[in-house]
């Protein structure tokens, strides 16, 4: 029988009992028993009708469900009857469960969700290992290396490459800068996704003059009006004609980090530019699909064998790259963010534990107040199990209410986190409350309810009913055992709270240190932008002239102090390491060291305010036809010219391999160090070439303003437009934006952990306050007696505060010990501060102590104001 038929079934039983009872009564009457007496006799013969009904229900086999629904109904009634308690508990729980759910939804989106490709577990990130560097040092592939890997491996069903960049899309005389990926022809096949319109790339598309492009769904919508006959058409990009192969389905995206690509172009353009023949032009990222049954190690051995052969065959370019790295794509992509998210998840779990302890304390007080009720129930036959069950049902009902509110709160928190923190964490933007998050929230809610409910339930079921009944609902001395449990809960909260406080304190101090770092340039009042000058239309000389003209007109704009151009901008995504040799220090070509490369127009260091240490800066004389010169930074000088004067020394830069002439350059200046890869990154040796002697397609223009740099954007765009309206201006940002972005991840962690620590501090205070308030109420008779016997109010005050202090100190000691162990997990995220920093530990312990004293003083003050007369009277 199904439970929803119960009502009908019940009516049936009622009718059956009634008809048989009537019959009994009739028979009694027929035997001559008077009518009135017959009814009672029948009832007596029949037995307890309610009991029969209950036993029959049991026979139907749905008793547990019935009992549970009864318990839940009862629990809800109880919760409604004490709204103050219920609202407090539900809000506390909602906070804990909500924060946990929000963080879990991030963890779920970033770390747990599989990649959106079929057979995604066989997709591997591939790279060469650079053996000139310690540890795991990935080195990108060159086209010839890639072609050899693709042809010679035995472990992959396909290996594809991709290389990010930008392209200028020209439409009706207008131009638009779009994010592009240059990909091998099997790229989509390796990922296992087919275009929704048109055809996939073919092998021929890799050949020179076969320029082919695949459109993303969003570009197809925005630029091509979702035209269904776009496939096969020709579009113009970067001054070349490209054939549209097709359109990828909505939501397709790869690579998953960085800006989503608007187009994927075949490598035909690189083939025409001879880049496909340059070994040592190491720019390609690679992804491979393992053959079924092949393991990661086996694949690594396979590719390493090929790499070692290439290293022997081409020592000039491949000597250092004699083995391969293979890692599942999902793990590689989430590798950097995993630890950070895990720390946040650990922290929020601690908050949830504190919430549990807090609500358990509330519940303990409440069940103690209801002691009489449970004693009565036990006295009239409720078993210990039944009372425990009732209490657990109540606590789980409570936590489910908190869970529902928590999911709503978590949803809001998650969106706030994703939106407010512009973080370059792959897939973070995809965070959502999906089935897995909901199941997680449900499990957390039930587990929370059981966790905070089991202590009071167990305590209550242990009680002796007779004692509780005699004491009434308010015990005189209070039960020692219960107080011990409650004290334990407060100590635990204090300890956990301190762990969170210390962790967030460490991150905060580390973050302040990061912000204090001198980036080596002055980021204030500087606007930057990238200018995409097509190589096809502007040859080397014209390219340089374009920028000279542009800088002249921009410098003349009102509010501009100075303007220059260069590449790359510190803390931008652009970065290059190029190998070199120093004249007079013979070295095999394959063993040449590499350092960070920079390019600078005259006035670049002045505009950036990078200080000159020795020699001179670049001048007009370092032009296209000028003598080859080079400037190094202080770290470079320290590393390669210790104790000697680098000025006048000569270096040869392996820039562009065989394409550019590799002239011998004279060191003419030494400049200060700049933080190239972020504020917290190590200082790197770097060297700069005069921009006219080594041009790139998309340099950065930097403009120092006398006022708000953002106001100069319009003037800059107009200036570029005046020279050539098809040249796009993009990535417009202030230098402060770049600096702030480089500190975004520590800021995000610090902010969140700071919030958690704040919540923890409040919870710890509330927990202690609750315990002491209850203690004062419970012991008002004792306090009254003491006062009547001559205790001063200050004695009472001190007594209660001392009680709070003792508990806090025990909690702090435990917390310090735990924190000392746990903050080691943070070590990798801290900058300029040790994870055992004694100052942070001391300050946070002091803060917690201070707040605890404040939390104790309120109930203590209330106890001291107690009127002994009234207190004794009430009892």
């Amino acid at each position: 029988m199904k439970w929803w038929q119960m009502k009908k079934r019940d009516a049936d039983l009622e009718r059956e009992l009634r008809s048989d009872l009537d019959l009994e009564e009739e028979e009694q009457r027929e035997r001559g028993v008077p009518a009135e007496e017959a009814r009672y006799a029948a009832r007596r013969a029949f037995g307890n009708a309610t009991l029969i009904r209950e036993q029959t229900h049991e026979a139907w086999g749905w008793a547990p469900v019935e009992r549970l629904s009864q318990d839940v109904r009862y629990a809800l009634r109880q919760l409604v009857r004490s709204p103050g308690f219920t609202v407090t508990a539900v809000l506390t729980l909602a906070l804990g469960i909500g924060a946990t759910t929000a963080i879990f939804s991030l963890v779920n989106a970033v770390l747990l969700r599989p990649l959106p490709f079929p057979g995604q577990d066989r997709l591997m990130w591939l790279s060469q290992q650079d053996h000139s560097l310690p540890g795991e040092a990935p080195e990108s592939l060159s086209y010839p290396d890639y072609f050899d890997w693709r042809a010679q491996n035995h472990t992959f069903s396909g290996i594809a490459t991709y290389f990010g960049g930008g392209s200028t899309l020209e439409m009706n005389g207008d131009s638009q800068r779009v994010d592009a990926q240059t990909v091998s022809s099997n790229f989509f096949a390796v990922l296992g996704v087919a275009p929704m319109l048109g055809r996939d790339f073919r092998w021929e598309d890799e050949k020179p003059s076969n320029r082919t492009v695949m459109l993303s769904y969003s570009l197809w919508q925005s630029a091509f009006g979702a035209s269904r006959d776009i496939a096969g058409k020709t579009i113009r990009m970067d001054d070349h004609a490209y054939t549209v192969a097709g359109v990828m389905p909505k939501g397709f995206r790869f690579p998953l980090n960085g800006p989503p690509a608007a187009v994927w172009v075949s490598i035909a353009d690189d083939a025409e530019g001879k880049k496909t023949g340059m070994r040592g032009y190491d720019v390609l990222s690679a992804i491979g699909r393992l053959k079924p049954g092949v393991g990661v190690e086996q694949a690594r051995a396979d590719l390493s064998l090929i790499a070692s052969q290439l290293a022997r065959q081409y020592p000039d370019t491949n000597k250092q790259d004699s083995s391969a790295l293979v890692e599942p794509e999902l793990r590689h992509m989430t590798g950097d963010t995993g630890p950070a998210l895990r720390v946040l998840f650990d922290a929020v779990t601690l908050v949830l534990l504190m919430v549990c302890a807090n609500v358990a304390g509330l519940l303990l007080v409440r069940t103690a107040r209801r002691g009489g009720e449970f004693a009565l129930r036990a006295a009239i036959g409720a078993s210990r199990g039944a009372i425990m069950r009732q209490l657990l049902v109540e606590s789980v009902t409570l936590s489910l209410c908190g869970g529902i509110a928590g999911v709503a709160l978590g949803y809001g928190l998650m969106h706030a986190m994703v939106r407010l923190v512009p973080l370059n964490i792959p897939r973070m933007q995809d965070a959502s409350v999906d089935g897995r998050v909901l199941v997680f929230a449900l499990v957390v809610s039930v587990a929370t309810g059981l966790l905070f409910g089991v202590v009071p339930a167990w305590r209550m079921s242990q009680g002796a009913p007779a004692l509780a009944l005699r004491d009434g609902s308010r015990g005189v001395a209070g039960r020692r055992g219960q107080n011990r449990v409650h004290n334990g809960l407060v100590v635990a909260q204090t300890a956990i709270g301190l762990v969170l406080l210390v962790s967030s304190g460490l991150l905060m101090r580390s973050f302040v240190r990061i912000l204090d770092v001198d980036p080596g340039f002055d980021p204030r009042h500087v606007l930057s932008a990238r200018i995409g000058v097509p190589f096809a239309r502007y040859k080397h000389d014209q390219h340089v002239q374009f920028f000279q003209r542009l800088l002249t007109s921009v410098s003349a704009l009102p509010g501009v102090k100075s303007a220059s151009a260069g590449w790359p901008l510190p803390m931008s995504d652009s970065y290059a390491t190029i190998s070199f040799n120093i004249q007079g220090r013979p070295i095999a070509r394959g063993d040449e060291p590499g350092e960070a490369l920079g390019l600078a127009m005259p006035g670049y260091f002045e505009t950036m305010r990078i200080p000159l240490v020795a020699g001179r800066l670049f001048l007009e004389q370092d032009g296209v036809k000028g003598p080859p010169t080079i400037i190094i930074n202080q770290a470079f000088a320290d590393k390669y010219f210790p104790g000697t004067n680098p000025l006048g020394q000569h270096m040869q830069i392996r820039l562009g391999d065989d394409v550019f002439e590799q002239s011998i350059r004279e060191i003419v200046g030494v400049v200060g160090n700049t933080k190239l890869r972020g504020l917290a990154a190590a200082t790197q040796p770097a060297y700069y070439l005069p921009y006219p002697q080594a041009v790139v397609t998309n340099p950065y223009i930097v403009i120092r303003a006398s006022g708000d740099p953002a106001l100069l954007e319009g003037g800059l765009r107009a200036a570029v437009h005046d020279i050539d309206k098809s040249v796009p201006v993009y990535q417009v940002a202030t230098l402060e934006d770049y600096v702030s972005k480089s500190a975004a991840q520590p800021r995000f962690q610090t902010l969140l952990l700071g919030c958690f620590a704040g919540i923890a501090l409040i919870l710890a205070a509330i927990g202690l306050y609750g315990l002491l308030s209850y203690m004062v109420v419970q012991r008002s008779l004792e306090i009254g007696l003491r006062m009547a016997l001559g205790a001063r109010r200050s004695d009472i005050l001190a007594h209660i505060v001392r009680r709070g202090l003792v508990l806090t100190l025990i909690g702090i000691c435990a917390g310090l010990a735990i924190a000392a162990g746990m903050t080691r997990l943070l070590a990798g995220m801290l900058y300029g501060i040790r994870s055992s920093d004694p100052v942070t530990f001391a300050v946070m312990a002091g803060l917690l102590l201070l707040v605890s004293v404040a939390a104790s003083s309120v109930p203590a003050w209330r106890a001291a104001r107690l009127d002994p007369n009234q207190a004794l009277h009430e009892q």
Partner: protein, 122 residues
């Protein structure tokens, strides 16, 4: 308190098994409603089993759930009113044989303990 509750439970449990068998045996004569079954058991045991009719109903519903009896509202020939009649199923008949033999074995076992001087059958 709880230990007393346990005792009561054990006592009804022993009674339950017997009661099931008695009901099934009664229904062997033909369909009957609860009142008739109760009356019959009481009469045949010469009022020895002093049971309240009420305790029959949980047992009847349990037997029905197990598929040993089926029930139907039918008009009683003598009363011109509908009663809920229970009827033995084939499954119930088989169950009666099982319970009967179990009961016999238990009675024998108890007898051997209670009256050990009784001559052994071999």
């Amino acid at each position: 308190m709880s230990s007393m509750a346990k005792q009561t439970q054990q006592r009804t449990a022993v009674l339950q098994g017997t009661l099931d068998m008695l009901i099934l045996r009664t229904l062997l004569y033909g369909p009957a409603h609860g009142h008739q079954i109760g009356k019959h058991i009481q009469r045949t045991t010469n009022e020895f089993l002093q049971m309240q009719h009420g305790s029959l109903y949980p047992a009847l519903h349990r037997l029905e759930r197990r598929g040993w009896v089926v029930s139907k509202w039918e008009t009683a020939p003598d009363r011109n009113r509908e009663f809920k009649y229970y009827r033995l199923t084939d499954k119930g008949r088989k169950q009666l044989i099982v319970e009967e033999s179990q009961w016999k074995r238990m009675a024998e076992a108890v007898a051997r303990v209670m009256w050990p001087t009784a001559p052994e059958e071999n």
